[in-house]
Assembly symmetry: C2
Homo-oligomer: 421 residues x 2
């Protein structure tokens, strides 16, 4: 079961570090990484070798926050602020996923678009529909995308007659959904939409289910100022947004919180203390005018920061686009901070979109021995002629800015070659 | 010579206005627009008709600021500020265009990438090399790109031994270059790189040539704070950056000034008074941390604002990407202005990337009768299924965010179908 891959091997094991092995060898044993070598150890000389030639063999991407049922509305309604946008676009769009045939078609396309763009791990919101959520999980599984999917819970302030569930329905459907999840690579995660969408009773029940079944939780936090004011009105007993999750047992190790744009120092400290993971969604934050997230500060404080496309607040599914959006947001943050804050380098943002996300699923740093392989093979030979020999690091930087789906000629997910074999 | 085009016709005649004619007819006479009609007038019933079916027939784009010889470095060196970036990347890259074979290959590729992405008009910086500049003009001409190209003038603070010219060389080569320009669709424009690159003597001479030959001028203005401080040190006699151009006759009607990020109210008033055109380069401004340009304010003050990709400070050649970058910058400006400033809508940013630029070349508003046709035909049929019938306006919005080159199935430039015939 030994197999050798050859190419220019690029990984980001730690923030700001890029490991480059030019013309290197990556040895797999049943899809599990044995090691990365600049010369092939003699013991593997007879193993089958796939030569990716002059291509880059890079870590694949982890998209830690996106709304699958919003994929059909990508690029539309970008002229509305968050709460109006939810009511006018997001809720009616999600409501259509009561139709399982429609769900099948959209989710098959989404799964294909994810994997061919090199996103091999996801943490994803579905809609409130149980059947459509199973379909989403099945289509991801078939395409080779791995990770977590959540049936959304939302029993208040939703869209009456369009997209609503009672507390009882929400709990009962969550249990039915959990009991029906039987997928190898796609697992369930509890998904209260966000505090304004969930009654105290529902939140308490979800906290209980999370504890009983040992499930992770994902939701939204401090995305926009009007949203935070709304949460404050709904929960006058809580000083900060995060406490509305904490009081029901949803604020715990590995809880994923999307955005955190306006989390103050105290809220950020609470994240770090609990082991809550921030999902920074740079494109979404600017598209719906949420704010300019202080990611460098979060990193300096030792927070665990990952990246999300946040489809369809975000308008770009490919994570290499999300990575450049992240860099741009950090540069805008630098400008706003009177050029005092360091922006994120390409290497740093790539780490956030790869290793930092993959670690959520138990993976190690970069191409760590013992991990199942998650990788893309990138052919940049159709990029414009550079006029001088480029280092692999320069080619890597250019690839992050210039890649299009067709440049990704192979994708490995969970040790399997799922594209390009 | 009458010819009829049929499709969903979309144009932005004025800021914030979108003209949509569903299943409309655009009538051409020798490539010149006769009119746009919702029903075909009887007199054209026998004319040959090209039916673009369910495609969008939209205005093509005008890229009003880019550096052709920086195309090979796109996506590299994005971690440096403007002045370091110039010395480390831009100058050595431009220097390679002394090699005319290399210039031919790069410029052929650039011209092809421009036209296939729907950019039919440009105002472009070449390098200081006369031969390479002619080659650039010839390759644009062949590909069907129209507009202005400038041999760059730079006789101080350049890259000694790498990229330099004396004042005498600069003037003599400019005259030799001008005398050798014989292209139908690509015309010369005078191009002092920016004030720090040009001696007073050279500036004065260029002002004289501009007046004598009736030539337009393009340069850079108030892009970054360190650059402006440098200009102030070089020209203590000038209160503001713009005066360094004005004193040599280069600040005049139709002078193009890239960036203007930090132009204050007085400088903006001087632009308006003189008829100077601002080229906003949203992607470049964030990539090299220049600043967040107050475009809404410039528009409110009645300035003429156009858009530029600013390759390779900008990392995105397609103007539909530049348009979404412009929207995002305006949204960041809104956030920074405490949510008080209106962002640019898709329709507004599209106007800036089309009509506002085309007017520079004498065109009218939108698809104006009497103008030669500049248009793209956009096939969005491979976009994800939307789940509801979309209006043409919604499809237009989505197309601006989601288009890739392969969706542009035909391009018309100066009345000729140059792609897809």
């Amino acid at each position: 079961m030994i197999r050798v891959l050859k190419g220019h091997i690029v990984s980001a094991p730690r923030l700001g570090e890029l490991d480059v092995v030019e013309n290197g060898f990556l040895v797999l044993d049943g899809g599990v990484i044995r090691g990365v070598y600049d010369r092939l150890p003699a013991e593997y000389a007879a193993a089958p070798l796939t030569d990716y030639g002059d291509c880059l063999l890079m870590q694949s991407f982890a998209d830690m926050h996106l709304h699958a049922p919003q994929y059909p509305m990508l690029g539309m309604g970008m002229d509305l602020p968050l709460l109006d946008w939810l009511n006018t676009y997001a809720f009616p769009t999600e409501a259509r996923f009561a139709d399982t045939d429609y769900a099948r078609r959209v989710y098959r396309r989404l799964a294909s678009d994810l994997i061919t763009n090199g996103t091999t791990r996801v943490c994803m919101f579905s809609s409130l529909h149980t059947e459509a959520t199973w379909i989403l999980m099945e289509e991801l599984e078939k395409a080779g995308v791995t990770g977590y999917v959540g049936k959304v819970n939302m029993d208040r302030n939703n869209a009456p007659g369009v997209l609503e569930e009672t507390t009882e329905q929400s709990v009962a459907e969550t249990l039915r959904w959990l009991d029906g999840c039987r997928f190898d690579h796609v697992k369930p995660i509890l998904t209260p939409r966000f505090t304004p969408s969930c009654t105290d009773e529902l939140m308490a029940k979800l906290g209980q289910i999370a504890a009983e079944r040992g499930l992770c939780v994902q939701s939204h936090l401090s995305e926009s100022i009007p949203e935070m004011e709304w949460v404050r009105r709904l929960h006058p007993e809580c000083e900060r947004y995060w406490e509305t999750y904490d009081k029901y047992g949803l604020w715990k190790d590995h809880t994923l919180m999307a955005h955190c744009v306006h989390s103050d120092a105290a809220e950020r400290a609470a994240m770090k203390k609990a082991g809550v993971v921030a999902v920074h969604c740079a494109d979404s934050n600017v598209n719906i005018c949420s704010g300019i997230c202080p990611v460098r500060q979060m990193l300096n404080e030792g927070l665990w920061v990952t990246l999300g496309s946040d489809i369809a607040g975000g308008a770009q599914l490919p994570m290499y686009k999300v990575i450049t959006a992240t860099i741009r947001t950090s540069k805008n943050r630098r400008i706003v901070d009177d050029w005092q804050t360091d922006f994120l380098t390409v290497e740093e943002a790539y780490y956030l979109g790869t290793t930092s996300g993959h670690r959520y699923f138990g993976a190690g740093e970069g191409f760590a021995p013992g991990d199942k392989l998650h990788a893309i093979v990138l052919d940049d030979s159709d990029f414009p002629e550079s006029g001088k020999p480029l280092t692999v690091r320069e080619r890597f930087q250019r690839a992050i800015y210039m890649t299009h789906r067709h440049n990704i000629v192979a994708v490995w997910s969970d040790g399997r070659c799922v594209v390009g074999e």
